[in-house]
Subunit: 295 residues, 4 copies
Amino acid sequence: MSLKPAAEGLRTHLFHIIFESNTPAAKSFDIALIVAILAGTAAIMLDSVPAYHQRFAALFGYVEWTLTVVFTLELAARIYCLERPSLYLKSFYGLVDIVAILPAWLVLIIPGSQGLVIVRLLRVLRIFRILRLMEFVGEAQLLMDAIRRSIRQILLFFVSILMVVTLFAALMYTIEPAEAGFSSIPRSVYWAIVSMTTVGYGDIVPVTALGQAITVLLMLLGYSIIAVPTGVFSAQVIRSIRADRYSDEACPGCGHDRHEKGAYYCLLCGTWLDEYSEDPRQAEEVEDDAPSPKG
Amino acid sequence: MSLKPAAEGLRTHLFHIIFESNTPAAKSFDIALIVAILAGTAAIMLDSVPAYHQRFAALFGYVEWTLTVVFTLELAARIYCLERPSLYLKSFYGLVDIVAILPAWLVLIIPGSQGLVIVRLLRVLRIFRILRLMEFVGEAQLLMDAIRRSIRQILLFFVSILMVVTLFAALMYTIEPAEAGFSSIPRSVYWAIVSMTTVGYGDIVPVTALGQAITVLLMLLGYSIIAVPTGVFSAQVIRSIRADRYSDEACPGCGHDRHEKGAYYCLLCGTWLDEYSEDPRQAEEVEDDAPSPKG
Amino acid sequence: MSLKPAAEGLRTHLFHIIFESNTPAAKSFDIALIVAILAGTAAIMLDSVPAYHQRFAALFGYVEWTLTVVFTLELAARIYCLERPSLYLKSFYGLVDIVAILPAWLVLIIPGSQGLVIVRLLRVLRIFRILRLMEFVGEAQLLMDAIRRSIRQILLFFVSILMVVTLFAALMYTIEPAEAGFSSIPRSVYWAIVSMTTVGYGDIVPVTALGQAITVLLMLLGYSIIAVPTGVFSAQVIRSIRADRYSDEACPGCGHDRHEKGAYYCLLCGTWLDEYSEDPRQAEEVEDDAPSPKG
Amino acid sequence: MSLKPAAEGLRTHLFHIIFESNTPAAKSFDIALIVAILAGTAAIMLDSVPAYHQRFAALFGYVEWTLTVVFTLELAARIYCLERPSLYLKSFYGLVDIVAILPAWLVLIIPGSQGLVIVRLLRVLRIFRILRLMEFVGEAQLLMDAIRRSIRQILLFFVSILMVVTLFAALMYTIEPAEAGFSSIPRSVYWAIVSMTTVGYGDIVPVTALGQAITVLLMLLGYSIIAVPTGVFSAQVIRSIRADRYSDEACPGCGHDRHEKGAYYCLLCGTWLDEYSEDPRQAEEVEDDAPSPKG
């Protein structure tokens, strides 16, 4: 009986530590989690280096298992302190949590294949949640706003690019010899994207004069149209930043409608801007006037 | 006799489906067309891969022929439901439609050459029309506006770049040995553009110390002047987006129709713009005038 | 005696054709000049290709000599129709004109060396003058304004980059083996700039794990700080574009100071903006009032 | 006794020359220092070229020792003319000063190792101090402001990029054969960053069709998300430049000191801002009040 409230207190306490980030305990928890995730990621990455695998395989296995146990306990704690854990488990971060520990446990049943490496690394996505909890909320919000508003233009831009790339690739496939690497249209598309994005590996390069002339056009195109997504996105970021500098409401006095947020008086005519409260100056004047009838 | 109006109704009905995009039937038609175009493009591209060509040539040929018949029927339907089909056939999209089906039919007469591949792929340009019909009108409009307004500056920029590239190329042709790849000025121009656009294939690289020093200048130039088209285009996108800031309504006095939103008086003739309220100045004047008759 | 004014008329006539660009004759002259310059440039470039040189050397020589004579006559005409030709010859475009014809004449005395190729190509710079005369004045002005205003920030940016590049280069010179191409600090600087500008030829690449880790830092730096000149320049272009949209003067009525150029009335209070003339509306009202005393 | 003030005068004099930059003597000192630093840097860099080292080792050693002595004397002068030299020596520029001369002196004790080259080159950082003293203060301030305000968004952007890169690298490590260079996850991460930043050395390239398809995604991602830091930074530079739009003067009523230029009334307390003229509202009120005593 007396245990119930204590448990309830523990759950609330845990909830604050695990899901929030404004107490010292919660912050320490977040940092510990980031360290654990980074350590786990480093172990997986280094384990893939043959030289390190031979010498430190046992250590990496130990790190991996410790972290799997820790993350399993953490997930258990998350489930424990939530009222509707099933909703959480179906959310994006819930799925990432499960994915982060499942592969390790699966290896106990099915001997681990290399292919699971990528699944285990999905764990790094958990860092996003922690950043979201911490101080980057405003920044992420602003970037997301700008991306959401520019996504359609940028999509349209990509569809256009893919068409251009397809036509250039088909042209080069027709012109260049197969020995130079242009052995099929898909390979030519790969080359065209390598060239237009200005990556330029050099594994496939044009060898004929005509092919090089067409390549010059493609490169100049790629070099200059990067301006399109950049321009669109810049404009949207500027809008996002400005949006939280100015209020939308117009001055009831002169109608000027670009007042900085936090402005109380119109910068052009000095009218009190807040229609839901009284101008303190007016109130003052009334007070000032108040003694005058006495006189 | 009674058939005429029915045919008329069919034509109107077809017109709405084929040329518009705001009914469920028209939307399904657009999506089906996009799927058909993408399938045809995929078939052409995969057919160019030797391994797939050997195994699936018959399938790709079947897809190609089916689509040719489908696109021919579609073009026939377009011609049927337009009042002046010849105008359409001479328009950009009409030409693309013809080009999209002609090569396949030509192969019946002249056995198909690989060179036609690029012509058949021109079909992807049809996707633009569909996108234009669908929801990307506003986005495309905005991008086009910004491109149109910045095109002259960007052209000027390109002319300047080509001059700089020519001079750098001639310089490197003089300095670097022909064995390093700088065997002629046109090849040096190709190298200079590969370097300045930051593509950097590495098929031609400077080998002398002086050549490398000049290359450093060229690369730093290329790296920084990308700012020019990007800056110009960003500025124009911002202006396009801000154009929303202008209200659509025309001045009742002089008809000027680009007033900033929030404007109360026409900037050209000083007329009060808001038709739903009275001009405070007028009101004032009336008040001012009011006592005068009394006097 | 009667010849003098005729000669004067010819000089004036020539001056309008050669130095201006607003009559049909002057425009034809500009276009002919651009064609001649491009033809000459093409001849020089193609002459450098061994295969073409063998077959068309005579043709290229003919083009070169014809153009040399044409440009010499043109320069003579320029000198003839100017009042102070020595000033012109010392100006930038005058020097380019001399440089464009001198090498060909020098060859008559000193048998031509390949090194003069670059000097003869300097002729392309003459295209700038023609563009300046033609319709690109406004565009060039705007770009120049923006470049001039951002040049100091971009210079500061380059000095910073060169310091960073020097330190990275020295670090890589210490870490990487000479066989990988890092055989001296100047070569490492070349590599560092190839990497940081994202050109990436691949002629020198890091081979040690530590070197690759440092390269990753350098590439991420190069990838992101391109934002600096782009941002600075974008901001300046935006300012240039905006500068010719708004007038500087404030409304004498309410003080609002961002009126579009061409505005006659304040958009906030409807006051007549031009202090040097009378508000036509006032005048009208006076007229309207005029009959009132009669009543 | 009489020596003290003279010494004091010398110290003040030295201080103005060394630490400031607004007298001709101070400017000459700054320029001499930049020349000395650049000469020293050039000597170190050229000394690393084997061919030059053999022939000019003595000259480079002479330059190095002369500069070491000069910089030592300069540091002594700095210490001499400061009141609290220990504070200076612990500052960033103080440390750079020590680092710039220490290695050369250390070589007298411990025979110099090549590793010290990078330490000696740290000397170039001193150029920053001189630039700061000279005319670039405003420019640097503006860039720094913009960088400081965008740093959080750009950090968030980099964390996201590193996660994406890690996942792509693990995926390619699983797909591509080790022979193509994808022999471990860290190497794949190196490749992924080389590709995403559009550097594209070409030392590691995908060889399987699936790997190339994934590479296409990575390159398109890298090509387009460069828009993110550029957009954020552009927006911040624009804001910095626009900050000029604010007047410096504080409100006489409440002390608020960021009013847009052209503001007449304080946006916080509605006080009339222009101290050289009268508030038209007050004037009006006075007029309004004027008749009241009469009544």
